[in-house]
C-alpha cells in the first residue's frame, strides 16, 4: 500500500528535528513519538523490519492532527502527512478500526455512506450519547454546543441548476456534508453571492460526501466508492470551475483524490483533471470586484487559517482580502492564526486532553483581538472554536456569510 516513492522518502529524513517545535501535538507532549520526526523514524523501522506493527504504534500514529505543519516545514521536502496517511491505511488493514471508531464508521458508511456531520449532528445528540460518558461533552466540546441539523438537507431545497441571464461564469458547487446537513445558511449565502455576481451555479444532486474524514482515519476502502462517484460526476458537467466552501472538501478534491487513487491503484486522470478546476470560494470571489456592492458592517473580525485551506491548498491571502473589503469592518490578525485549532476531525474526541490545550491557545489568541467575529472556512474548525469559546457575543462564522450579510446590507 505504501508506494515506492513514499518508501524512498523515509530515507530522506535527515533527523534534523526542524519539524518538532512547530508540531502542535509535540509542543504539548514533548516526547519524540509525538513528533513528526519520531513517527517518520518509526515508519522507517517498520519498513526495515526492526519493529512490528504494534497497537502502541497505532496509537502513536493516530496521535496526530494531520495538520500538515510538518510537511510544510520539512527542509528535506518529506511529504510527512502523505506518509502517515498511507501508514494509517496499512495499520487499519491489520488491526481493523478500533472499537469506538469502527462503530462510527460503520454508521458513516452503512449501505450508503452516511455523512460525517450527520454523525456529529444527529446521531451523537441522541442515539450514541450513552457511548460517551464524559460529562455532557464529546472530546472537548460540550454537547449543547453541537449544531442542530438542517430541517431538510440543503441539497433537497434547491434546484440542480440555478440559471442567470447572460451568465458571467458557470460553476459547479460542491456543498460538502456540513453545509448539506448542518449549515444550510452557508450554502444559501454562497449561492446568493454567486447569483448576484451573475454566475450560473450547478449543484449536482447526487454529489456524495467527499470521504476525506474516513480515508484519513485509514479506512480507504470505505471511502473509495464515494470518491469514484464524485470524480465521475464532476467530469460529466461542463463547467469552468468547481467551487468549494469547505476547506476539507476542497483539500480532498484539489489534492487528496489524485494521491489517494494512485495509492489504491486506481486511474488518476479524471481526478487530476478535476483537481485543476477546483477553487476555494474565496479564490473564486476574488476574481470579481465586490467592493462597490458591499455595505458596512460594524465590528471587528479576525481570521483563523484552517489546515486544509492553508497548508493543503495554499490559500492564505484571499479570505483575508475578502473580509478586508467589507466597509467599516475592522480586520485584526490574531497571533498564530496559522496554528491548528486542535480539532483535527475526530482527534479532539480521541485525545481530548491534548486537543484542549492546543485549542486553549487558539482561544486566547482570539480573545486578545477582542474581535466579535471569528471567520474561518472549515466546519471542523468552527465547531472546535465555537465549542471551546468561553465568552459569549463572539460569532464564529464562514467568510461568505459575512460577505452575504454585507451584500444584503
Amino acid at each position: 500500500m505504501i508506494s515506492k516513492n513514499l518508501r524512498e522518502e523515509v530515507h530522506n529524513c535527515i533527523k534534523c528535528g526542524i519539524c518538532l517545535t512547530p508540531c502542535p501535538v509535540y509542543k504539548q507532549r514533548l516526547v519524540e513519538v509525538a513528533s513528526p520526526r519520531g513517527k517518520v523514524q518509526l515508519i522507517r523501522n517498520i519498513m526495515e523490519g526492526n519493529l512490528e506493527l504494534s497497537e502502541n504504534f497505532v496509537r502513536i500514529l493516530f496521535t496526530c492532527l494531520l495538520c500538515e505543519t510538518c510537511t510544510v516545514n520539512c527542509p528535506s521536502g518529506l511529504k510527512v502527512d502523505q506518509l502517515m496517511k498511507a501508514m494509517r491505511v496499512k495499520v487499519i488493514e491489520k488491526f481493523g478500526l478500533p472499537g469506538k471508531k469502527k462503530f462510527l464508521f460503520e454508521l458513516l458508511t452503512g449501505k450508503r455512506l452516511l455523512p460525517f456531520y450527520l454523525f456529529w449532528g444527529r446521531v451523537l445528540r441522541n442515539n450514541l450519547l450513552p457511548l460517551f460518558p464524559v460529562k455532557g461533552k464529546v472530546g472537548t466540546i460540550p454537547l449543547k454546543k453541537f449544531p442542530r441539523l438542517n430541517r431538510q438537507p440543503f441539497l433537497k431545497k434547491i434546484p440542480e441548476v440555478i440559471s442567470v441571464p447572460e451568465p458571467k461564469g458557470r460553476v459547479l458547487y460542491f456543498t460538502g456534508c456540513a453545509t448539506n446537513y448542518l449549515d444550510g445558511e452557508i450554502g444559501r449565502a454562497t449561492i446568493e453571492i454567486l447569483v448576484r455576481l451573475g454566475v450560473e451555479v450547478i449543484v449536482p444532486k447526487d454529489q456524495m460526501c467527499c470521504g476525506l474524514p474516513i480515508f484519513l482515519a485509514g479506512a480507504p476502502k470505505m471511502a473509495l466508492p464515494n470518491i469514484l462517484k464524485n470524480v465521475a460526476l464532476f467530469n460529466r458537467w461542463d463547467v469552468d470551475v468547481v467551487v468549494v466552501e469547505c476547506a476539507t472538501c476542497g483539500a480532498a478534491l484539489k489534492k487528496e483524490y489524485p494521491h489517494f487513487l494512485k495509492e489504491m491503484g486506481e486511474k488518476t486522470e479524471e481526478a487530476m483533471a478535476l483537481s485543476q478546476k477546483v477553487l476555494d470560494i474565496s479564490q473564486y470571489l476574488m476574481k470579481f470586484d465586490l467592493g462597490k456592492m458591499l455595505k458596512p458592517i460594524k465590528g471587528k473580525v479576525t481570521y483563523h487559517d484552517p489546515c486544509h485551506l492553508l497548508r493543503s491548498q495554499g490559500v492564505k491571502d484571499e479570505p483575508r482580502a475578502l473580509l478586508r473589503q467589507i466597509p467599516e469592518l475592522d480586520f485584526v490578525e490574531m497571533a498564530e492564526a496559522d496554528v491548528c485549532c486542535g480539532g483535527g476531525g475526530t482527534f479532539q474526541w480521541e485525545h481530548p486532553r491534548i486537543s484542549e490545550n492546543i485549542t486553549a491557545q487558539k482561544i486566547e489568541s482570539i480573545e486578545k483581538t477582542k474581535a466579535n467575529f471569528v471567520a474561518t472556512g472549515c466546519p471542523g474548525c468552527r465547531l472546535q472554536i465555537f465549542g471551546n469559546l468561553k465568552k459569549d457575543g463572539v460569532e464564529v462564522i464562514h467568510p461568505v456569510q459575512l460577505i452575504f450579510r454585507s451584500l444584503s446590507g
Binding site: 519520531g38 519493529l51 527542509p75 521536502g77
Partner: protein, 461 residues
Amino acid sequence: MLTEKILHEFETILGKERILTSKEDLLSYAYDAYVEEYLPEAVLFPKTSAEVSQIMQVASTHRIFVTPRGAGSGLAACSLAKQGGVILCFTMMNRILEINKPNRYAIVEPGVVVSEFQKEVEKIGLFYPPDPGSATVATMGGTVLMNAGGMRGIKYGVTRDYLMGLQGVLPSGEVIQTGSLTAKDVTGYDLTRLICGSEGTLAVVTRITVRLLPKPKARRTLQAIYNTIDQAGNTVARIVEEGIIPATLELMDKMIIKALEDYAHLGLPLDAEAVLLIEVDGDPESVEKQAGIIAEFCRGQGARDVRVSQSEKESEQLWMARRGAFGAVARMRPTCVIEDATVPVSFLTRAIKEVITIAQRNQVQIAVLAHAGDGNLHPLVLCDLRDKEEMKRVEKAMDEIVDFAMSVGGVLSGEHGIGIAKAKYLPRQLSPQTLNLMRTLKNTFDPLGILNPGSFLECAP
C-alpha cells in the same frame, strides 16, 4: 543493566508518566541528527534539579549509565546512549525563570528551545545572539553543552560568550553552582566555561544564566552573487581586512544554491558559483553606511549582482532559506553528513577549493556552506548510507578534509562537536598530555564513568 527494581526507584522519583520504556519510545530516542543509532533502555523526563539529583544518586548507586539529551539535533551522536543505560531528556524542563532587564541577564531551564527564548527576550527589546541553524529545535541545554555557534559568530561569538553561570548536578547527585550574576567575576577556576562545550560528559545542567544584549535597532541583509568562489572569498577577506564586522557572513556554493532554489524559490541564478549572504546590524545610520560599503566591496571583487533587502520580511525570507539549507541539500540524496572543519579565516577560499578538489578526486558529492566570516566550513557530504562502496569513498574524503584543515592550523570542529563522528581524529589536534589532562578532569567529575559513556574522550585512540 537496568533491572525492574532500579526502574522502580526511578519511578518513585518521576512517576510512571515521565518514564518511557516501550520499544517504540526507545527506538525514537536512538537517533539524533547524525547517522549512527544506539538504543537506550529507558528515557526519563525530569522537571526539577531535585529530581535530577535523585536520579543521579540512584544511577551512581547502581552504576547505571546516564546520557543527557536536549532536542537531539546534535550532529555527532553526543546525546545517544552509546553504551546503553538511560536517556535523561530535558524537553519537559522548559521554563524561562527570569528575564532581568535592568541587569540584562536571564535564567532558564535547560529544555527551553533557543528560538522561543530569543522571541521572548526580543519582545522586551533584548537580544540573545547565539543562533545555530537549528535554533528552532535545539534546547538551551544542548547548545550550552555543545557550545553551539551559528551564523552570528563573526560579530557576536558563540554560546560560551553569553554564559554567566550554571547550576549543575554531578554524576554523584551533588548539586553545584558555577559563575554568578555579575558582569565580572574572577573567583576561582572558570567551571562554567569548562562545562560549556563538554558534550554532556562532566555534569548535568539544570539551570542556565545567560547574558543579554540590547536588541540592535536595525538590520539589513545583502545578497551578492558571484561567478567564481575566488571572488566571493576575496570579498570576505576584504571585509575582514577593512575592520568591518558584519553580524553574519555566509557563503554558499553552487550545489547549495540549487538546493535552496528547489526548496524556497528565491530566484537565485543557478549558474552562479557562489553566493554571499551578509547581514549588518546596529544603529540605523551605521547600518546604512556599512551596507553601502559592503555592497561596494562586493561589486569591486566582481559580484555580478548585489541586492540589499528592502524590508524585515525580505531579510527574514533569506535567512529562513539559509536555515533550511542543510535539509534542502539533503533532499538530493538519502544521507547527508556534515563536516565542520574550521580554518584561520585567511585560508577560507583555499579551503573551499580544496574541498571541491577532494570531492572530485574521491568521486563524492560535496556541497559547501561556510560561516565564512569565522573560517567555519560546513562541507555537506551527500551519499547513501546503504551503499557501502560509496561510504568508503566518503570516509576517505573526510580524512583528506581533516588533513588539509590540520595542515593550515585549523581545528577538527568549529561548533558541532567531536562526539563519535570525529573522535578518531582527536589525537591529530590534541597532544597526549592535553588528552590526558582532559581524561583526568573527566575522572574527577565522574569517577564511576556513568555520565555519557562512550563519548569523544573514550572513543579517541
